[in-house]
Amino acid sequence: MDPLEHAALSGTDEAAMAAKAEDSPLAMALLREISAALADYLETGETAVIDLKSLPMLDADRDALADLLGEGEVTATLNVAGESEVRETGYAGVWWVRHFGADRKLAAEQIEITAVPEILLAHRDDIAAAADRLAASLKTDPPEPMTTLDRDTHHV
């Protein structure tokens, strides 16, 4: 089903939506793109990424898009080379991903259309390394878990 229709049916005030569409044509255009990408995903399994940072977005456009997409059930904060934030929107399969650099400065901002954003998954190589480490630590007693603090000491 078209997500716009869905939103209308699920009780979003149609007049409010129309007002927003007038406020931010960009947000409406993005919504249509997201809708098409969702349909593609269901049909072919092809995931999509929309890079918000490369668009000439004003704060108003961002707010309008956030309002239109709504909130989902999942919010994840990652601590990887600075902070990152993954939020599910009100539409399943549509994720709002924000990567921060230093001083919580926005480094990348994307809408991902996928079952779960790849960055949340543990990479096979990391799992393999973890398995080795865990196995090794079981041989020597007591096991020493690695803390996340270690990664801050890697600097040049």
């Binding site: 999509a48 990424v49 990652l78 650099g101 990348a108 996340t148």
Partner: protein, 364 residues
């Protein structure tokens, strides 16, 4: 220096997961406008790449380029590039000096033969036997030749290395040369700018690491991902240019309203760089946003384009007096020519005799 381990393994040892690669790649993909598939490939490529040996040569330069890349703003995400490369020689940054420094360069060259990247900032003076600039007892030209011989690729950072820059400005007393004029048998990537944008340097290096090839370049050898559009094309003041609304001075009404700075000498239309999109100081601003025209620092002839405040459409040199002299000279020549013609007319009139019917009969 590389020891056969991949960047993925090296960083995993420090508790940095593959997620960091994904995050870094999405960040770069956003900067370079890469498609999502390329971003994933870049993350995989980076994780599988060995740590890249980099030899940084500084010639006729001001160290501004080094300042710029070391100010890539964050000790976290943006700085990951420093984990991906092994800066084996950089005479300003390295701890070693003198012979130990030179030994480090030779060691890196031998250990990574055919694989290391040479970064050059500064132009190379070749006048007077290239003796205007020497390091460790050899000329810059010798050091470049020697170091580039076994390199995988050369990255010329900054306008001096890319196009000659300030040392190359008229009259170019040292006969300063850009790197591309001297290195013919290796790929040379130019990342121009005075200084270049740190993200452009990091992004280009990351591309070479992840994909093992040279990114797509423009006709000046610059990566299209960062130098594909002119400042003018991406300028937020462009609508004012299109409408013909120009600031006439830096403090008039137009300037206050943020109108186009074309008439005040903005070189945006002929300058290719990413300032208008990536901006400076961690995305805070860029010259035009701060109310000053683009200087055109990432272009060849940066210093010889006729002054920062001369519009691009205007002649680069002073022409007013020349035009006045030409008009005066033309006028003088016109008077002379006119007088000669008049004299000829008077002479012709004097020589004129009336022909009668009798005269005609005589001759026939």
């Amino acid at each position: 220096m590389s020891d056969g381990r991949t960047l993925g393994q090296l960083l995993a040892q420090r508790g940095v997961s593959r997620r960091a690669f994904l995050k870094y790649s999405s960040y770069l993909a956003s900067l370079m406008a890469l498609p999502p598939a390329a971003s994933r490939a870049m993350a995989e490529g980076l994780a599988k790449a060995p740590r890249q040996s980099v030899i940084w040569l500084s010639f006729q330069e001001c160290t501004g380029c080094t300042e710029s890349i070391t100010r890539a703003h964050s000790p976290t995400l943006e700085d990951l590039i420093f984990d991906f490369i092994s800066l084996d020689y950089h005479h300003t940054l390295q701890a070693a000096s003198g012979e130990a420094a030179e030994a480090a360069r030779h060691e890196a060259m031998a250990a990574n033969k055919g694989k290391y990247i040479v970064v050059v900032d500064g132009s190379v003076p070749v006048g007077a036997g290239a003796i205007y600039s020497t390091i460790a007892g050899i000329t810059n030209q010798q050091m470049l030749e020697e170091t580039v011989k076994d390199a995988f690729a050369v990255v010329a950072v900054g306008t001096c290395a890319a196009f000659g820059g300030i040392p190359h400005a008229r009259p170019n007393p040292t006969n300063a040369m850009p790197i591309r004029r001297l290195v013919k048998d290796k790929p040379v990537i130019n990342i121009s700018g005075c200084p270049p944008i740190p993200e452009a340097m990091a992004g280009t290096l990351a591309h070479v690491l992840a994909f093992g090839n040279v990114p797509e370049l423009d006709s000046h050898g610059r990566p299209l991902a960062f130098f594909g559009d002119s400042i003018h094309d991406r300028c937020y003041r462009r609508p004012f240019y299109d409408k013909g609304q120009f600031a006439e001075s830096f403090d008039d009404d137009g300037a206050r309203k943020g109108w186009c700075l074309y008439k005040l000498g903005c070189k945006g239309p002929v300058t290719y760089n990413a300032c208008a999109t990536l901006k400076w100081n961690g995305g805070v601003s860029f010259p035009i946003q701060s109310g000053h025209g683009c200087l055109g620092c990432s272009e060849p002839h940066f210093w010889d384009m006729g002054g920062f405040y001369k519009p691009v459409s205007a002649p680069s040199d002073e022409v007013g007096p020349l035009a006045a002299i030409a008009v005066a000279g033309g006028a003088a020549a016109g008077v002379a020519a006119g007088l000669v013609h008049r004299a000829a007319k008077v002479k012709a009139k004097a020589a004129h005799t009336t022909v009668t019917v009798d005269d005609l009969e005589k001759t026939s």
